[in-house]
């Protein structure tokens, strides 16, 4: 069975500093990988996704992620964090089987941005 691990429960970063959120997955085949963001009181918004092709994926809000098969990782990065990036971030992988595509989520990483 597939699983997603986000090792960091909480990260605090200064505004303007760089941010990297870690995600490791366990999956037997090439995964479909996602990063979602959830701001307080809001639903989940897709930041970016990896299905195939270029392993460096660009997303919205200046985020990018790199798929590294050898490390089973899909880390999310942003060069310069804005106060509005304070939110909870979820890495997810799609389970492909029996023609369904259930998302399996990591536990999430809460990002706090300090002035």
């Amino acid at each position: 069975a597939q699983s997603v691990t986000q090792p960091d429960i909480h990260i605090t970063v200064s505004e303007g500093a760089s941010l990297e959120l870690r995600c490791n997955y366990s999956y037997g085949a090439t995964p479909y990988l996602f990063w979602y963001v959830q701001s307080p009181g809001q639903g989940l918004q897709l930041l970016l996704k990896y299905f195939s092709g270029d392993t460096l994926v660009q997303g919205i809000k200046g985020f990018e992620a790199e798929f590294k098969r050898s490390q089973s990782s899909f880390n999310l990065r942003k060069p310069s964090v804005h106060w509005s990036d304070a939110a909870e971030y979820f890495c997810a992988v799609v389970t492909i089987g029996s023609n369904d595509y259930k998302l399996s989520f990591g536990a999430g990483t809460t990002v706090t941005v300090r002035a």
């Binding site: 979602y36 809001q42 639903g43 918004q45 799609v94 029996s98 023609n99 259930k102 998302l103 989520f105």
Partner: protein, 116 residues
């Protein structure tokens, strides 16, 4: 265009009562999912509907939980005899295949259920 909508946005109920949560997927999306987001459990899959196929109920935590999808569109998640551990945010998502391949899931804002 309109996204996934859910109602109510908040629901407070007493232990033992039944509740119904509604999801309106994006028009034309054939697949619909329910997830639950609770403290200590994170985000977990509950149930999946795809077209006219039998739903995948493998994530439902107990037989108090059920869901239906009428006419391939609106879905209702029903929790009978609610317990305090059912308190969570219930998220609905929909998607459709593009060129026969998987596409991203679009999430609704969720229904926050509080069982007193």
């Amino acid at each position: 265009g309109a996204g996934v909508s859910q109602s109510p946005s908040n629901k407070v109920t007493e232990k033992g009562k039944d509740v119904e949560l509604r999801c309106d997927p994006i028009s034309g999306h054939t697949a619909l999912y329910w997830y639950r987001q609770s403290l200590g459990q994170g985000l977990e899959f509950l149930i999946y509907f795809q077209g006219n196929s039998a739903p995948d109920k493998s994530g439902l935590p107990s037989d108090r939980f059920s869901a239906e999808r009428t006419g391939g569109s609106v879905s209702t998640l029903t929790i009978q005899r609610t317990q305090q551990e059912d308190s969570a945010v219930y998220l609905c998502a929909s998607t459709k295949k593009v060129d026969g391949s998987y596409n991203e899931q679009f999430f609704g804002p969720g229904t926050r259920l509080t069982v007193l």
